[in-house]
Structure formats: C-alpha cells, structure tokens
C-alpha cells in the first residue's frame, strides 16, 4: 500500500522528479542573483568606472556567476553567452592580446552596446574586465581614459547578457524543462531527457572544477603552472573552486529524490579541505601544496562516484555529451 501511494505521488508529479526542484530552488534564484549583481556592476561603472571603485561590485558579480556557470544548457549556450561571460581557460592568451588590442586602438566599438556585443569573447566578460581592474600595467587608468570606457562597456554588456539569461530561463527554458516529453516539446522528447540534461550539467561541472580549475594550475609534477590559475589576478582561484562546489551541491540536492548521504559527505570533505588551500593556488608549485591539491581532486572524484550512484542511478540517467568533450 505504501508503495502504491508512492507510485501515485510520482505519477502525479508535474515533471520528472528533481527537475522541478532544480528549477525553483537552484536555477531561477541564481539567474536572478546574477542579473542583480551585474546590474549593480553596470550602475557602479556608469557612476565611476575607475578600477578601485569597480572591484567590489566585480567580485560580487563573479560570485553570482559561479552560481550559474555550470548550467551549460539553454540560455547559457544561446549566442555563446557562457563563453562571452567567462572565457576561461584561455589556452592561447587571447584575453591579454584582445584587451591590449582594444586599448591600443582605442576602438570606438565601446560606444555602442549593439556593436560591443559583436566583439571577440576574449575582449568581453569577466576575464577581460579582470585585466582592466587587476593588471597593474592597466588598472591605474583615470576616469577620462579609454580603459574606463571599455570597463563600462564590459559591465553593461555583462548586465545585458545576465538579463537575457534570467528572462529566458523564467519565461521560456524553465517551461521547456517542465514540459519535457509533452507534445510540442522538441527539445526534450521524454521527461527523462530533462533530468539527464541537468544531471549532465552536474557531472560536467564537477569534472571542470577538478580537471580545469585545479588541474590547469597543477600542470605536471615537473612543470607546475600556478600562473594558469583561474582569475588569479583578482585573487579568486580558490574561491571559484569553493563556490562552484557549493553551487553543484545545491544542484545535486535539488536533483536528489531520496537521501544522499555519500554525496553529502563527499561534498563536505571536499569543501573542508578546499578551505585550507592557497587563495590563488600558487603553492601547487611546492610539494605540500601540490599534494593537497591532488587530494582535493580525489575528493571531487569521490563526489563524482557518489553522485553517479545516488543520483544518476535513482534518476535512471547517465550523463550525456557535454561542451567540454574534445581536447
């Protein structure tokens, strides 16, 4: 009888278990927070675009981005927004080159938001702005300098994209996920596909933090690459690792349909260790620091296994292909 009741509850559920919770409890609050944080950044820049004034709003906007950066489906993939907001890893040093090019040319493209939206992603978004705000060679610009106008243009462009993401999630893509498997839904042909898409975002996010955020600065034992740590100029490399794990834990909790003790324990163990690492992961170049980073990678691997068993199996899905497949 109890089984029957459970079955009826599931049958009556409007969307696949977990999807509804992920949308309401995890995604929509986070897209709204990113919209608000970038609005603040754009407004601050409008009033005073100098580096020291902008830094605090910049850090808040980046924090908010970490709340949604793993949602590589729908609105974030549209128009390449995820790349335009956070172009990293930048394996060929394109941000440095592109920002230097814009500055050298005093490119008038900053005057028009429409035109600026067409600029290379390496000249837009959080990492281009990081150069302006934290690279000592640039960050001393004055209110009338071109760099100030560029910072304003980037801030405004970030807010434009954040607004579009939030609107499209609320007005369109949430419904696309919710109506998975219903007639007329060409994106998700079964309700399971919606769950799979969110599950893929979870597993891909874990892999990205392990292999890229940690793995890139770690390099090899003989050739560590601390200079490749994400957002190290802004001092956020480790913070991004922590915030991404917290956001992914949020998503995991929303997707879970039953108790997930292993997943909870694995996230807690990873976050506990992460809190002890170097803020910009610079010490991966030393034996002890590298050792700790390796253990953190192993703890993220433990999360991956726990998530596969406690969430993937329960949902009956495995991860699909993701945007970071390939080399």
């Amino acid at each position: 009888m109890r089984h029957l009741a459970a079955a009826l509850i599931f049958a009556a559920s409007p969307a696949f278990a977990g999807v509804e919770e992920a949308i309401d409890d995890h995604i929509l609050p986070a897209t709204a927070a990113f919209e608000a944080a970038t609005e603040d950044l754009a407004r601050t820049a409008q009033a005073d675009c100098r580096a020291e004034t902008l830094r605090s709003a910049y850090q808040d906007a980046f924090d908010a981005w970490m709340g949604i950066s793993h949602l590589r489906l729908g609105p974030l993939e549209e128009d390449g927004r995820a790349l335009a907001i956070g172009f990293w890893p930048d394996t060929r040093g394109m941000v440095q080159r592109t920002v230097a090019g814009l500055l050298a040319d005093a490119d008038p493209v900053v005057e028009s938001p429409e035109a600026f939206a067409e600029v290379s992603v390496a000249g837009r978004g959080l990492f281009a702005l990081e150069r302006l705000l934290y690279d000592d060679a640039v960050s001393g610009y004055g209110a009338d300098d071109y760099a100030c106008a560029l910072a304003t243009a980037i801030a405004r462009d970030l807010h434009r994209m954040a607004e579009d993401i939030d609107t499209e999630w609320r007005e369109d893509f949430a419904a696309t996920l919710r109506t998975a498997g219903k007639p007329g839904n060409d994106t998700f042909l079964t309700d399971k596909e919606a769950a799979q898409a969110l599950y893929t975002a979870l597993t891909t996010g874990l892999e990205f933090t392990k292999d890229q955020r940690l793995g890139r600065p770690m390099g090899t034992f003989d050739r560590p690459r601390p200079e490749r740590a994400e957002a190290r100029r802004a001092g956020r490399s480790l913070h991004n690792v922590e915030l991404s794990l917290e956001a992914l834990r949020d998503l995991a909790r929303a997707l879970a349909t039953g108790p997930t003790p292993d997943t909870e324990a694995a996230f807690a163990a990873a976050l506990e260790l992460a809190a002890e690492l170097d803020p910009v992961l610079a010490d991966v170049a030393q034996v002890q620091g590298r050792f700790e980073a390796e253990i953190l990678q192993q703890r993220i691997e433990a999360i991956q296994h726990a998530v596969a068993n406690e969430i993937g199996v329960t949902l009956g899905v495995s991860a699909g292909f993701n945007a970071t497949d390939g080399d």
């Binding site: 060929r92 596909e193 799979q196 596969a308 495995s318 991860a319 699909g320 497949d325 390939g326 080399d327």
Partner: protein, 418 residues
C-alpha cells in the same frame, strides 16, 4: 496455421540475430577504420613523394604540387577523426599527427606581428630551423641534425605546452604555406618556393634546414599512419578492443560520434572561432582549408552510422550498420538521427560551397560578418541537434548504464582519452 505464424513471428522477435548483428556492426566499423587509415597512409605517401620532389627540385611548381598533395591527404584523414574519442588507442596517438592549434614560431620564422614568447608558452618563438642549438626547459638541445627523433622526442609538446606542435599535418601545412597574414581577409599563407631554394636564391634563411625539417615531419607522418593502419588490421589492437566487448564497442562508436559532433567540432573548432573572431581559430589556418576539414569531419561521423565509406579510389566499404541496429530498437530514433546527420552535411556543404566560391572561412569569422556567422552557426546548431539524437540512440540501445559500472565511457568521455 495461425498459431504457427504467431510462433514464427515470436521467434523472429526473440531471435538472437540482434546479438549477432552487433558483432557485424562492429566489424563494419573496424573495416571502415582500416580503409580510412589506409587511404590516409596512401595519400600521405603521395604527399611524401611530392615533398621529396620539392626539396630535390625547388620550384613554384613542385611547391604547388606538394600543397595539392597535402589537401588530398586531408580528405581521408579528416574522415577518421570520428574514431578518436571512443578509442583510447587512437586518442593517445592522434596528437602526433593532428595536434592544433600551434605556435608556429617554434618551428620557423614568423612575422613581427606574431610577437614572441608568451605567459602560456616561453618557446612560442624558438625557431628551430634558424637555431641548431638551444636550451629547452633547462636542457641543452643539439638540433644540428633535424631528424624525426628530434621532432618527436624533444620538440613536440616541448615544455609540456600543447601549442608546441612540432609534428603532423599542421606542422607540414605551415612549412608548405607559411603564416596566413591576411587576418580576416581572404587569402592563405604565401610562403615563397624560394624558402626551399639552394644557395643564393634561398629566402627566409636556412633553406636546407627547412627542407630537413619538412622531410622529417613527412617521414614521421607516414610512419605514424603505418602504425595506425596496423592497429585496425585483422588482429590489430584497436580492432580487437572494439570487437572484444560488444556493448562497449557500441559505446565507443557513439562516444566518438557525440564527442566529435558536440564538444570538439561544434564547440572548440567552430563556435569558439566565431566567438573569438580569430582567424587562427581556423582548423586548417595556413592553407585556408578549414571548410573542408569541417566537412570531412562531418562526413566521417555519417560514415560510421550509415556503415558506408567511399574510399579515395572510389571503391566502397560497407556492411551492417549501426543505423540498422538502432532501427531495430527504435525506428523513430534511427530516422531522426539519419535525418540529422544528413542535415548537418547539407549545412557543412553550404559552408564549403560558399568558401570555395570565394567567401573564405577567415572572412566568415570577421567581427560583425552576419552572413559568415550564420553559415557557421547553422552548421554548429545542426551538429548540436545530431548530438541529442546520438544520446537518444545510446538510450535506445540500452548501453547508457555502462558508465555506472566504472567504465570510462559516456559518463566521463574525457577520461577515455586523457
């Protein structure tokens, strides 16, 4: 009579033919690999012969002949890229022959606009051709003789930087065409044939060393391809790996199709180039052959699903297809995937057509070039669409739970090739 008919039908439905045909489908997949790598080898040998002629008798004609041989060699090779992501043997190897993008200043002279060493790569402007001895990661390197071993063991991925590409198609491409200095304007690299001339005619300096480098890279390409042909021959390790576990073999096919379609081609190679407006994001940037490189990648994906490959000599390799296997499981999923693969070829065909008619791929990448962006993004969207259908085929075949059993397959495709 009626019961007999029912029994026959029931028997047909329950027949183990499905299990048997999995093996046949995998054999077709391996046969296409063997043929496509053999075609790659045959055309690479033709390229090698043309390179030998260029070095022996440098002229505008012999340089042009070598370039044409390179372009032909790319046609079968690009169709093998679908074998990369599902097959560790291929993926561990492919960086030797098709690594990209490269910091070409490692190899030879470059324009002043290239800049020098970077944060990412302190050997970005090493210029081995001009420097017989140099220090690399604290080690003194004697490059007075440029040999395949030097390229392979010392220079390739030097200092653990992937952009230090010293071998393979793209190193050879750079040595045949030179840098494309036209930005997002039309035009390929314009290396003069005199870069290989002897005596006073030599331009760019060190023509003999340049010839040595080109020959060494060409020798390596041939020997690397010979090795891969062996892996797919009867009894070869790659063929055995695919045939030994049928479900894992099917996952290998689908992983290769999906990872190439989505993360690699749609994402890394096409969308990123549009988003960066960077002509160096062209896959074949020196030769301006990127439209073909994309087209034949797409063709390779289609080949393995339809179980049919048209060889370089026009003969056809075909057999029981993955398509028929998926159709048995779910005809709708199969029909949709076939349609998606064909649609992708139409989109890639339009891009190729426009490029060949003069609207070159570098111009498509220009900031604000809406027609170019539309051509590329239509192909990207078609590739994304077919990826969704590939995922549905995985589910239809019921091989999607393999990942949970600790296999590095669909749930963690990166692990397969890292």
């Amino acid at each position: 009579m009626r019961t007999t008919m029912t029994a026959v039908l029931a028997l047909a439905a329950a027949t183990p033919a499905l299990a048997q045909s999995k093996g046949e489908v995998l054999a077709t997949y391996a046969d296409i690999a063997a043929a496509a790598y053999e075609d790659s080898l045959i055309t690479a040998r033709a390229l090698d012969a043309a390179i030998q002629r260029l070095i022996a008798e440098p002229s505008a004609q012999t340089l042009q002949a070598a370039r044409e041989a390179w372009l032909r060699a790319r046609v079968p090779y690009q169709q093998t890229e679908v074998y990369r992501f599902g097959n560790p043997i291929v993926d561990d190897w492919e960086g030797k022959v098709n690594a990209w993008p490269l910091d070409e200043g490692l190899i030879d002279y470059v324009d002043a606009s290239y800049g020098g060493a970077t944060d990412q790569n302190r050997y970005a402007a090493l210029n081995v051709i001009a420097n017989p001895t140099f220090s690399l990661s604290g080690e003194d390197i004697d490059a007075t003789e440029i040999t395949p071993a030097l390229l392979e063991n010392e220079l390739h991925e030097a200092d653990a930087v992937e952009a230090n590409v010293a071998t393979g198609y793209h190193a050879i491409e750079f040595l045949l065409w030179g840098q494309d200095l036209n930005g997002t304007d039309a035009g390929a690299g314009e290396r003069p044939w005199t870069d290989y001339a002897t005596g006073e005619d030599c331009t760019g300096g060190n023509c003999d060393r340049r010839g040595d480098y080109l020959q060494a890279a060409s020798d390596l390409l041939v020997s690397d391809l010979e090795w891969m042909v062996g892996q797919w021959a009867e009894g070869g390790a790659a063929r055995e790996a695919v045939l030994s576990d049928e479900d894992a073999g099917l996952v290998a096919i689908l992983t290769g199709m999906g990872s190439l379609s989505y993360g690699e081609q749609a994402g890394e190679r096409m969308k990123l180039g549009v988003m960066l407006n960077d002509p160096e994001e062209e896959h074949d940037c020196f030769s301006d052959n990127t439209h073909n490189s994309h087209f034949y990648d797409g063709m390779g994906i289609r080949n393995v699903y339809f179980g049919e490959y048209v060889r370089a000599d026009g003969s056809v390799v075909s057999g029981p297809s993955l398509s028929s296997l998926v159709a048995e499981a779910d005809p709708q999923v199969d029909a949709a995937l076939r349609e998606d693969l064909n649609q992708t070829m139409i989109e890639l065909g339009q891009l190729k057509t426009a490029a060949e008619a003069g609207f070159s791929y570098d111009r498509m990448l220009e900031r604000g070039n809406e027609a170019g962006e539309a051509l590329i993004m239509d192909a990207v969207n078609a590739l994304v669409e077919q990826t969704r259908s590939i995922e549905r085929a995985v589910a239809a075949l019921g091989v999607d739970q393999i990942g949970f059993e600790g296999s590095d397959s669909l749930d963690n495709p990166n692990a397969v090739f890292q």
